[in-house]
Symmetry: C2
Subunit: 317 residues, 2 copies
Amino acid sequence: MNRICELFNIEYPVIQGGMVWCSGWRLATEVSNCGGLGLIGAGSMYPETLESHIRKAKEATEKPFGVNVPLLYPDTERIMEIIERLQVPVVFTSAGSPKKWTGWLKDRGIKVVHVVSSAVFAEKSEAAGVDAIVAEGFEAGGHNGREETTTLALIPAVRKATSLPLLAAGGVASGQAMLAAMILGAEGVQIGSRFAISEESSAHPEFKKLITQSGEGQTQLVLKKLAPVRLVKNAFYDLVVEAENRGVDKDELLTILGRGRAKKGIFEGDLHNGELEIGQVSASIDEVLPVKTIMRNLIAEYRIAQKAASEDSRFNF
Amino acid sequence: MNRICELFNIEYPVIQGGMVWCSGWRLATEVSNCGGLGLIGAGSMYPETLESHIRKAKEATEKPFGVNVPLLYPDTERIMEIIERLQVPVVFTSAGSPKKWTGWLKDRGIKVVHVVSSAVFAEKSEAAGVDAIVAEGFEAGGHNGREETTTLALIPAVRKATSLPLLAAGGVASGQAMLAAMILGAEGVQIGSRFAISEESSAHPEFKKLITQSGEGQTQLVLKKLAPVRLVKNAFYDLVVEAENRGVDKDELLTILGRGRAKKGIFEGDLHNGELEIGQVSASIDEVLPVKTIMRNLIAEYRIAQKAASEDSRFNF
């Protein structure tokens, strides 16, 4: 029995990360229809936009789906009201304290998962009463923990700190990586980058194309004086790094960052001036694929790797 | 058939990293006697010191062992002359171009392995004629690649770039992590931190004690304007970070770094002013253990994880 499959009533323990500007109803429902759990990313949506996405999702699938809610936005109360009213069954919270909303959501029969980047916050999440935990490593795209702990080091540490169902995130875009993460103690995975570069992702085609063409070393964690974020190296990135090397302060970094950079890059396709959030593992992604193919490949690779790990002579010494 | 076991004529595909101030003849030969491949770390030795360690190693084991040679030191020619004269069977080279010494060593019947942190350098190493490759991820201790690619993202990329026998390094201190790395495409592992904190390591007892007590987030990659290095957060680290936040240049960082900092910290036990090189996974190390126990645990954990991945219901959905 896999506790992630059981918790969410899904076929495969594969969660699609609720990514800003990528994860609308189309992506989320296709993942759910293919046997995983799709998440709508509320982080880039006005409350009324989110409401419309949830309504469309309910028409597009009878399978469970969820909403990812970064807790740092001022609209969180309105977003939670919509989630309650439309009876969304699952909420993933991130970028904030798990104490804030877990009880409120659980009282309403909603399953709650909190995203952490350390064992310490995994313990806090368990104490707050969450149903499961996502532990996200340094290699993940977008916002990221200050400890810079990689998935390989993080998952065993979180596994030791809590007995809750555990999802690994960061660096997972293949069935081999999924199995590896599960051997480290996870019971499933949350996948971002691979689904960001799917046909059903709402990211701009130029952004998707750039990622399929970019190789190793093309992302880096920057803006550590504000909140660390993993970005593709482009003209905006160069501007940030040049400023950071000069030792500028938070205020100057905020001015350079400005507003709406992620939208500009990921959604509008401004590859030079946009904030292009994607994970390290994007180096391995060289095709835009439909979710159906991504899911099929993932599970097939997983099963092949599982059989090899048991039977292949390479593993037996 | 495991190609790493075959290449080195060893029982388990476990290499002990040749770490400065930790990896003398005592550590290396105990690892070899326990069925792995021990490496003497030439990086912290004068040529005559290395010669003495190799001679002692030959008395302490009949099993194969090797020497790790960072190629950035001026004494490399004398070191290679000693290795040839004393007929060391295996050399791991790092921190330099694989073109420099691979041909020379191979001509003398010595097996050559090069340490890389990117797929691009793995390809260059294969072209230079090495016998195997170590791919070392961002979570590793000590000096580290500029791409900051984690082991989870790096191993599949290197596996795709070359068909050579491949060792994973960075973040591996358990049998679970070893199996995970092998599922990602490695045929064995190079382990640093866990052996640095063994009874047989020549590191100072105070350094070992500090590591057993430190937890997550206690190492960080710094000195990126010089050569990135992962260090324990101590007074010296604070000095570096404060300077980096001010945007100081290379020259000022070199002055802060001074000379002999790693020796001061790791070998002499000056925990405040020393450069304390260790990997992220050191957070999981809470005991100084003899090599024999470390190796036994590692292989036992590996076999349990291998069986679980095949049979445990968590993995079967």
